[in-house]
């Protein structure tokens, strides 16, 4: 264990006799062996590899960055001239919707579909045969998606500020960023659960079946009051709806959020509780799926 713990010592300084704890064969290092990096180096390398392998696939960036930004540009910009009663532009209300849509698709695809694919290819099994801790893999995915999510949000904000006449105080932009990012990450277990429970070949289809209807029924594309009544009735039972409500509340007063969505937002803690509950339930499901996968392989 000591070898992984020491972050500082790198280079050729290999101790003459490495402790062979509970082993009956002494470690036999090659003359050129060197200490590997520590945990931080591991996490950074994992993140770098995740980022590179995602960024080199154009479909990925198009799906999670370009599409939400493009949709916002198409629908948000023309709606900048419409205003809510208090003068809040409709484009200002649409921006968080498309942001939430982008981050939802990110967690579903970067976590769900990716993990299912890596599971299916046997890549996870090979990783399991190494001494690498499980958190390295998940940590790498999480950090990577925070980076990509930030890119999505910044691109969206740029379109909002420069093309769709979204005007907010700097502190409000920042709050919008934080709420969308944290809310999106609270949905990450949704992706993890999909990644470990879905059959690898079905994951992409299931991912689309989950995130498109969820985005639609949560009012990310069109305000809820333009949707059929039955969708408006079920919306409050969708975690993503509460994600949206939290984001809209950053840009406008509860009255204006109601004016836009057609549903009065609850107190912030209700929406936060919904997201936390979703996080816990799906994290449990994901852990269950992860364990099931391991015991299935070991069985």
């Amino acid at each position: 264990m000591s070898a992984t713990r020491s972050l500082a010592t790198t280079g050729r300084g290999v101790p003459a006799a490495v402790a062979a704890s509970s082993t009956d064969v002494p470690r036999r290092l090659s003359p050129t062996a060197e200490r590997s990096g520590g945990r931080l180096a591991l996490l950074l390398t994992q993140v770098r590899c995740e980022l590179l392998s995602n960024l080199r696939v154009p479909e990925f960036l198009i799906g999670v960055v370009a599409i939400p930004v493009m949709l916002f540009a198409m629908f948000g910009v023309p709606n900048a001239r419409f205003e809510l009663p208090d003068g809040t532009r409709i484009s200002t209300m649409m921006m968080p919707g498309f942001g939430a849509f982008g981050l939802l698709s990110l967690v579903i695809f970067a976590f769900g579909v990716d993990i299912a694919a890596e599971r299916g290819r046997g890549w996870l099994r090979l990783m399991r045969a190494t001494p690498a801790p499980g958190w390295a893999y998940f940590g790498g995915k999480l950090v990577t998606s925070v980076v990509v999510a930030s890119v999505t949000l910044l691109a969206l904000f740029a379109v909002g500020a420069f093309a769709a006449q979204v005007e907010m105080a700097p502190a409000r932009w920042l709050r919008m960023f934080v709420v969308l990012l944290l809310g999106g990450m609270s949905l990450a277990p949704l992706g993890f659960a999909l990644g470990f429970l879905a059959r690898p070949r079905a994951a992409s289809t299931i991912g689309n079946l989950v995130f498109l209807p969820l985005s639609f029924a949560s009012g990310f594309f069109f305000p809820l009051n333009q949707l059929p009544q039955f969708l408006r009735d079920i919306a409050p039972y969708l975690p993503t709806y509460h994600y949206g409500q939290l984001a809209w509340r950053v840009t406008a007063s509860p009255e204006m959020v109601e004016a836009y969505t057609g549903i009065a937002p609850g107190p912030a803690w209700v929406h936060v509780a919904w997201l936390l509950g979703t996080f816990v339930v799906f994290a449990a499901l994901a852990v269950l799926g992860y364990r099931r996968q391991r015991s299935r392989e070991a069985a």
Binding site: M1, R27, R28, S30, A33, L42, L52, G122, T130, P131
Partner: protein, 309 residues
């Protein structure tokens, strides 16, 4: 001992993938686990790695649980299917695996040991089959392991790729490392290993040096049309089996010259004579005492032998 397996069984429902395996691997050994597809080789390696729990029996790696960190950090492995993220470059994937282990070898050395120096910056998706297997080998040795498992590493490789691959493995074994690999090619076991463990039906059916194992098997199959006494054929030196199949006399032997000389001396009128290398199934037929169970497997194995011959 690097590995100690005692009475290991693994059952999948009614299927006995492993049916009581005992195996010891000492430091510095290069061991081949030889057997036809479905013999239990992959399951055995999976159990040795601690990825699969045995139904009964014990497995110890470096004197303890193979799944514990101390064991994992001293073991390297090539599994049969492990799709590397295709968009990454060779150096990036190897660099990642270097971080997984407490100790590692310099990147340049790893690439050189896997003969991938020229492919350092190549995306994984552009590698040939042989290069891809060598990349997996680089990943297997990234932690400077004391013990390396290679599960059928040369399946689907052509002759030259196979030869190149084994050269790299032998180079690593020369550091005093222990290597255990599975194969269904007798010639590979013969050329690379110092000890061969023959597995079939989840059991160890023979064990010894490659020379000892080769003496046990009939490496040639002779087929012809003729009127001969099968009992007399079976009595000839080196003959393991003599049967009538579809009107052909089929003789498995490791001394085909003696057989043919005898027949010609006896003046037997031989037609449609064919002499071929045995596939693994035929080679071990008297050891395993079971029939042919899959023509495809046999074709693969005999292809391999022809390649070496």
């Amino acid at each position: 001992m690097m590995i100690e397996m005692r009475g290991v069984t693994k059952h999948y429902g009614d299927v006995r993938a492993l049916d009581g395996i005992d195996l010891d691997v000492a430091p510095g050994e290069v061991v081949a686990v030889l057997g036809p597809n479905g013999a239990g080789k992959t399951t055995a390696i999976s159990v040795m790695l601690g990825l699969t729990r045995p139904t009964s029996g014990t497995v110890r790696c470096f004197g303890g649980d193979p799944a514990r960190f101390e064991a994992r950090s001293r073991v390297g492995v090539m599994l049969q299917e492990s799709g590397v993220p295709a968009a990454l470059r060779v150096c990036e994937v190897v660099g990642l695996f270097q971080r997984y282990y407490p100790y590692t070898l310099p990147l340049d050395e790893l690439l050189a040991r896997a003969d991938l120096t020229a492919k350092r910056d190549a995306p994984v998706s552009t590698l040939s089959g042989g290069q891809r297997q060598r990349l997996y080998f680089a990943l297997a040795i990234a932690g400077d392991p004391d013990l390396v498992f290679l599960d059928e590493p040369t399946v689907a490789l052509d002759v030259s790729a196979r030869r190149a691959f084994w050269e790299q493995v032998e180079g690593f074994a020369e550091l005093g490392k222990t290597v255990l690999f599975s194969t269904h090619y007798l010639d590979e076991a013969d050329a690379v290993a110092r000890r061969v463990v023959v597995v079939d039906h989840g059991r160890v059916i023979a064990e010894g040096t490659p020379r000892e194992i080769k003496r046990l098997v009939a490496d040639t199959t002779v087929r012809f049309h003729a009127d001969v006494d099968l009992e007399r054929m079976r009595a000839l030196p080196g003959v393991q089996r003599a049967d009538l199949e579809d009107g052909f006399v089929v003789i498995a032997t490791n001394e085909p010259e003696a057989l043919l000389q005898r027949m010609f001396a006896d003046g037997v009128a031989v037609r449609d004579l064919r002499v071929t290398d045995s596939d693994l199934e035929a080679a071990f037929v008297h050891l395993t005492n079971r029939g042919v169970h899959g023509a495809a497997i046999g074709a693969q194995a005999s292809g391999a032998r022809r390649v070496q011959a």
